[in-house]
Subunit: 388 residues, 4 copies
């Protein structure tokens, strides 16, 4: 099939050619005297993306999913109680991981389309007078529903309750794309992965921990080895790693950080907002709804609800097979009900307009009652009026 695949899943995202070329390097000795010249500045510059000065950054040769486990197994003790609000598939999977690891998971169901209910959380934390809850697990951007939770609000709720639990945040599909302020928001463990806002292939769990979280590592008795933060800290302080890193990935991360920091994190956030808003204008012009309820709209991924008589899987299948567009499917509870357009990472207006046009074709092919060009027209007007 001639022409490129158009990748609009919410991750892996499109990798800039500069990043791919930076990864195309011969292998090298990760114990060489010059390896720290690569690795140490990476760990420092990551702080600028996580917006932390007090915290410490880590790169594990694994994925964001592993990052969940790193936070839980290093900072908590076996069987500790954790609080989680389940408002999408990735919140569900984190909950599931915590359960598999033997933690006492208190999970509250939240309607998919909403984020963490701040008032309810505050009330629950206030109730927990004995501070049995050791950690709050908060999904910042729920990729499955296109919902962004208010993490600053979560911190406020915890503070209002005077609760000392650790705050762990799944920022896999938010960090390096959506506004994320680790220090300001009092995040204790921030978890991301390489294949989203960092615009790299999957294969790195990119994490940051607060000093409070790192202090908890000292007393944690949870059995762990590969995911040991202490082993990382011991090796990282000299600029090395406890086991073989993927040096191509680190070179790619170097270039990705250069691109992000050159653009400026605030500009990165603003760009993602523009991109997301354009998609939402298109959806509105089609007369469709998005899964996210007002106030929860994600700027990195939009889940579009199809009419009750339609199956979103057909849209995805047509888009892929007929037009070579990769869209995100609805997962588990929203399977068939939504399809998702990822607008995260290395992306710009024209790419997204192509996607919107392609989605229109796929919807029309499946009998959707939309006006051809209507979504594109709405997005065009928005992008034009907001472009610099």
């Amino acid at each position: 099939m001639a022409g490129r695949n158009h990748l609009f899943i919410p991750g892996p995202t499109n990798t800039p050619h500069e990043v791919l070329s930076a990864m195309h390097v011969p292998m090298e000795d990760h114990r060489s005297p010059i390896f720290p010249n690569l690795f140490k500045p990476l760990l420092e510059d990551l702080k600028k993306v996580f917006r932390t000065e007090a915290g410490q950054c880590f790169v594990f040769p694994a994925t964001g999913t592993a990052g969940w486990e790193v936070a839980l197994t290093n900072c908590l003790n076996p069987g500790d109680k954790v609080l989680i609000y389940r408002f999408g598939q990735f919140a569900h999977l984190w909950m599931d991981a915590a359960r598999k690891l033997g933690f006492d998971v208190e999970a509250h169901e939240v309607e998919w389309g909403k984020g963490i209910p701040l008032d309810a959380m505050e009330a629950r934390l206030k109730e927990d007078k004995n501070h049995e809850i050791k950690a709050v697990l908060a999904t910042h951007n729920e990729t499955s529903t296109g919902v962004t939770s208010d993490i600053a609000g979560v911190r406020k709720a915890m503070d209002a309750a005077g609760h000392p639990a650790l705050l762990f945040v799944d920022g896999v599909s938010s960090i390096a794309s959506l506004e994320f302020r680790m220090d300001d928001w009092g995040v204790d463990g921030a978890i991301s992965g390489s294949q989203k806002g960092f615009m790299l292939p999957a294969g790195a769990a990119i994490l940051a921990f607060s000093q409070k979280a790192l202090a908890a590592v000292e007393t944690s008795t949870f059995p762990r080895s590969f995911f040991s933060l202490k082993d990382q800290m011991n090796a990282n302080k000299d600029g090395y790693t406890p086991y073989t890193p993927s040096t191509p990935m680190l070179h790619g991360l170097r270039k990705a950080l250069d691109l992000l920091l050159e653009e400026g994190m605030d500009n990165v956030y603003a760009r993602h907002h523009r991109l997301g808003e354009g998609v939402r204008r298109a959806v509105a012009a089609w007369g469709l709804q998005i899964c996210a309820q007002p106030g929860f709209e994600s700027d990195t991924v939009t889940a579009i609800v199809v009419p009750a008589d339609k199956d979103a899987r057909h849209v995805i299948s047509t888009a892929y097979n007929k037009y070579n567009i990769s869209l995100g499917a609805g997962l588990t509870e929203v399977a068939g009900k939504v399809f998702r357009i990822g607008h995260i990472g290395d992306m710009n207006d024209v790419s997204l307009l192509g996607a919107i046009a392609g989605v229109e074709m796929a919807m029309l092919d499946n009998g959707f009652d939309i006006k051809p060009g209507s979504g594109v027209a709405a997005a065009i007007e928005y992008y034009r009026s907001t472009a610099k």
Copy 2:
């Protein structure tokens, strides 16, 4: 500027990632015993793209512009008369090259927007009773105006006139994308370059000559060295080259030929027709004209005429600076009057819809009276109804 550049100039075209990777190779000995295993099949498979069995293909480490010179200096004698119809900038440049090389160029002006006037040519050839015209130089696809000439018709005109001149065809922006049939059309010298339908970087003149043309080489006294077809033939027959070739380019050409032949040349032509027709539908929906007159529309590039009160350069500049789309400028006589969308090479519907949407934005930004989304809507309807 985040996100990719959207390249819609009529060449260099977008290079598929498989081709770029195929070119990312260590250097190698072009005199090794295995080099012919790479090079000989390339020369053979090129015939399938030129649609010739009787002819012979050549690859020079130069560009399509050099290809013009190869044909002229190898098959003609100093001062020979050549006939050319000047209906665009590339016809102009070929005429100019022939003049610089001292040939007796008989050039006829043709309105830009039309192609070679077959009746006039036939009449002229009939007039030339003494066969002073030694070669007809025919631009197949005039990139500057988006005009495709009828080369089969040129052959018919020559045959009708019983004229023995050689037929040289500039197929730089047609071969490997538009229908081209060297043997059927009696083409004696077919000239292409790597950076158009072959989807490679610039740097190879890709040529085919008929046996009649090669016979003419034997008697030609034109001074030549680097561009000597005889030197190529002597080396090529054993699978080598007379001087150092770019081996990465040859590996890229191998992959590009694999992609083209896997798709099938007839499918390649049909794809370009669909792509081009979609663009034309969009232009019509905008209420604008294209430079090519009916019957001359090119399926690899469309030159769009802006209203008299507009400057096409502003559209191009806005598209580039604000939306990161590269469009083709109007050249010389049509500078400011047209902008061009290339739809040649590794391209598909969604890429082009992005371009069309982007062009709409750039036109609207420049005060064009068009309806947002109208071009996209027209193209969507066409692409949907014709996609397989």
Copy 3:
């Protein structure tokens, strides 16, 4: 510094350019309908490298170190007793990992330079009448000392003792380079990583488990999530993964497997034997000893013992700084006493002769009493006489 770095550490190994290019691909949807076309054959073809038909292969986005943990945490229960012989740094680290994970580790010290003592092991297993030992952890190729253990012999010892323990083998620096026969040797868990014989960057734990090991997974109560074999099996059976894989790594693995299987595994083993033997001839010609005692010589890495008055670190430092050769350092107990030449992966005679010559220079610079060219001469004679 002009010229390439010469990489002769025992991993990461040199990645063939074909593999690097295969990894230079746009990101793609790992949930697409065509993803299984890539992934399923990979899992099947890996069996040919592990030499197993009954077993099942797995690829985790992590490293070989993680592979140790996968075997332990999936097939054993918390606190289970495991038997390990500590004869080098990587055996030590595996022991250490098992202890961190809370297993009851019975570790026996073995002189560094030897491998697993088969008789002692057999005796120990016979003693264990109640079968308290649930797993034997055997390091096949001890990278730190250049020692290869006899895994077929381990199996014989276990069988002679009639012991039902699982046999887990660290084949990180042996599988895909040294002879390894999972089924024949009754290996239950075989652990490798991408950055050694597989000639890829670090970032994949490549594993195989026997049906006996997989049955044990069913009853294991060890808490695990990211490393769950069951989650992998559930997803793998349809050709997918439980979380985002590194698709570039999988494309690279595809190419690496193609190269290995095209060469033929028996030829791969033979090549490594030749390469290793040449290095040993050079060492003998220098009048030096290798760390491995007779019968334990590794064909993937040679640890060379420096005279008592020398510090191997100086050789390594000179080689790196003055000649751009990366050698392996002596680790922990042999730090300063040995330096290591890796001869694993994409390697041939001339590369190694360059390394041997470079090592001669570094030794001479550090006052070693060796004859210039002597090691190279010995290796030359061996390679010449054994080359095909």
Copy 4:
């Protein structure tokens, strides 16, 4: 065949991975407003390699062979007399090119192994009272024999004769590796190619012309088009090219220039001298002769004369087929009599020691009476004692 090919031909040379990655870029618009930001500094920085401030540099999308033609056809008039000393195959080919182009070539035979005979040249120029000789064609580094001519001496001879001829120098295998000083030596046309000292693939003729040469362009009547310096100058002055350039090649050249200028040209010359001298020490240790006579030894390529009863082709064939080393063959008059080791471009001690060892193997396999390791030992001693 596992392991890398060892490329020791005198060009194409080994391309550094940074350069290959720099070339792995999407295509781009060579008429964009930012293209001059790439191209103009390239033309300026090239002057630092040619060591010219007064001259002007050019890049043609062709090869060094084409560079010969550019000089001849732009600065001379049809039939002009040129003086050339034929002391190797590349001098021969330049002579041949000049003849094919119709120039009046006065060629003097020089024993292969020597360079330009300065006294004889001076005498000849003095004889030419009427200044019928319009240009001296001087091969700086004769790749076929491993001979370097004294270009400063050529200038002195011309000055001593008070002769106004243009001095054209073939620096294809010298510029960017051997000392070359365009302004100091009064070179009027300096011709190089991308695939030697510039460490790029073939595909660019890289040239510099003096103001005197450029003035001659104004009056030259030679027919030319693709190779027109005037067309280049007209386009280059604004940072553009007269026809489509290979943008990947330009990006590669950018990186190559960065590497060269970072190393420093004087260091580049010194490095090549060390590399060459080591090879010569090895040859002497083997008891063999090099083709170059004393004072003419090239630091970029060494042609080694085999004993009368041997055929150098067998050495080359064994080296390639058995050991995957690519050596340079003897060309035409020295075919079978010499084989060549290129030591030009991105190269260091250890690479060359591998080549020397490999050549020893190939010679021993062919019954040469040399002592294994002897050449390596001699080179080792030299490299050790001269390394920084």
